[in-house]
């Protein structure tokens, strides 16, 4: 199987560990990822805040590049996924002139939904060498991957299940909770730090109340918000794992501790205590 891969800007910088773990996991699963050639930024919050045209044509360039390759896009970042789908919808409405040749017919897959397909789950289960059965986790989806359901196509947007299925396949004990898609504060920390802190701290508090030791995420911004809010180390750390980091850990006897060094809330003590590292 071959898919085109749109990493997005975060995966080059703050979430470099996520990018590496995705490549490692897909290699283990035997799925080829081809990075979209010359990919560019999707415009993120800034483009749709300031210019409607830019918020359509910036993702359209990447859609055009993937169409040239003829491969469905797999998208690990929630916001990129949302923006690509939004752009596709607008392209089909033919409201704006798009400077690139693009039909909008290529499929944009959110990475977690792709991995949660029954056929891929079966593949994941075959790859597992070291089940994570002692690890209690909650899965956190954030906003842009599931909402608005009209764009993302999630039918279970109130209680999404994709990450839960994948984490359960890796053997982790997945705990059900009510804060799966509550906002973490997104990029507002730039100007109003107190808002992001109040929202992220509440999610961490609810994690502890649910009895989980770690959070599994798939969005780079959610990860950095939930991770960075723990920088004062006032409480025992709640590690925030990318789903692919956990998968890779269960696929491989020796995970890659290099990735875990990038976390602010250090996951190594927890994993060592559980005998997973």
């Amino acid at each position: 199987m071959k898919l085109s891969f749109y990493p997005g800007c975060s995966l080059e910088g703050m979430a470099n560990d996520y990018c590496e773990s995705i490549y490692a996991v897909f290699k283990d699963l035997g799925i080829d990822l081809v990075e979209i050639e010359d990919w560019s930024c999707c415009g993120a919050t800034a483009a749709h805040s300031l210019s409607e045209v830019m918020s359509v044509i910036l993702p359209a360039r990447n859609l055009a590049a993937a169409e040239k390759m003829g491969l469905d896009i797999i998208c690990p970042c929630s916001l990129c996924f949302n923006r690509l789908l939004f752009s596709q919808k607008m392209i089909k409405k033919k409201i704006f002139h798009i400077p690139w040749h693009v039909t909008g017919n290529i499929r944009v897959l959110d990475m977690t939904r792709f991995l949660a397909k029954p056929s891929i789950i079966k593949l994941i289960k075959q790859c597992i060498l070291k089940p994570l059965d002692s690890l209690k986790v909650v899965c956190y989806y954030g906003c842009q991957m599931v909402r608005p359901p009209k764009i993302t196509g999630y039918a279970d947007y109130e209680n999404p299940q994709t990450l839960d299925h994948i984490a359960a396949a890796a053997g982790a004990q997945v705990i059900d909770w009510s804060y799966k898609s509550t906002c973490c504060g997104a990029s507002i920390g730039i100007g109003r730090r107190e808002i992001v802190e109040s929202l992220s701290k509440r999610i961490l508090q609810k994690t502890q109340q649910a009895g989980a030791e770690a959070i599994v995420v798939s969005c780079p911004l959610c990860q950095s918000n939930l991770d960075i809010v723990q920088k004062d180390r006032s409480q025992p750390p709640t590690p925030i794992f990318y789903i692919t980091e956990l998968l890779r850990l269960s696929f491989n006897d020796k995970g890659n501790p290099k990735w875990f060094k990038m976390h602010v809330a250090d996951p190594v003590p927890l994993l060592k205590a559980k005998g997973l590292l």
């Binding site: 080059e12 910088g13 044509i57 950095s224 960075i228 060094k261």
Partner: protein, 211 residues
């Protein structure tokens, strides 16, 4: 609660000296304009406040999401564009998702933000407005966003560094940046997208400039 209206002793006429805001500074013009541009049916809103209750940050807002809808219906343009709500909205889409009448509240707030950005009104949340602008400028410059370059450009904007030092957040953010640098998360340089020329051309065309 004591009901002052039904009590003839305390019931008063409407104060004739009170300054009342006109409904719609330009009649239906503003409502029709936003309705046309966003495609949202404003008369579907019956002020059930479900958007406000779903909003994770309505407590921080000066105008609550349901008020935004009402103000648009009344044509109170200036009040809307001067509010902090349009800048601190996280676009988490809770309001849109839970509206029983499919009023796309998040899209309306987003649209108002775009209007405010292209108007002469000074944004109430200046730091956020400047950040969005800087983000777009950096994007046009290199096609992709590098966090370090972005933050450097952001801090060199007028007033930003000054305000951050004054309210004491700069020290904390500097310390955070050092931690991230040490952890290898903050990359000092990143490759530019090869498509940067195409993007610049498209961007200038959207602004009516021919390059």
């Amino acid at each position: 609660m004591h009901n002052s209206i039904s009590d003839p002793e305390t019931a008063t006429e409407h104060d004739p000296c009170e300054q009342r805001e006109l409904i719609g500074d330009r009649g239906d013009y503003f409502l029709n304009r936003i309705q046309g541009e966003t495609g949202v049916n404003f008369s579907a809103c019956y002020q059930c406040e479900r958007c406000t209750n779903a909003c994770p940050i309505s407590g921080f807002m000066d105008l609550k999401p349901h008020q935004i809808i009402r103000y648009v219906q009344l044509g109170w343009r200036i009040r809307l564009l001067k509010s902090s709500t349009i800048w601190i909205c996280l676009s988490c889409e809770m309001c849109t998702t839970y509206c029983p009448n499919e009023v796309d509240v998040a899209e309306i707030i987003n649209h108002l933000r775009m209007m405010a950005a292209s108007s002469s009104i000074t944004p109430k949340e200046k730091s956020l407005a400047v950040f969005h602008r800087t983000f777009l400028e950096e994007l046009i410059k290199s096609g992709r966003i590098n966090e370090f370059r972005l933050m450097r450009a952001y801090y060199s904007k007028p007033d930003i560094l000054h305000t951050k030092i004054k309210n004491g957040t700069f020290k904390e953010e500097f310390r955070l940046a050092m931690t991230l640098l040490r952890k290898g998360r903050l990359k000092l340089s990143a490759p530019k997208s090869k498509a940067v020329k195409e993007i610049q051309k498209a961007y200038f065309q959207t602004r009516g400039e021919i390059s």
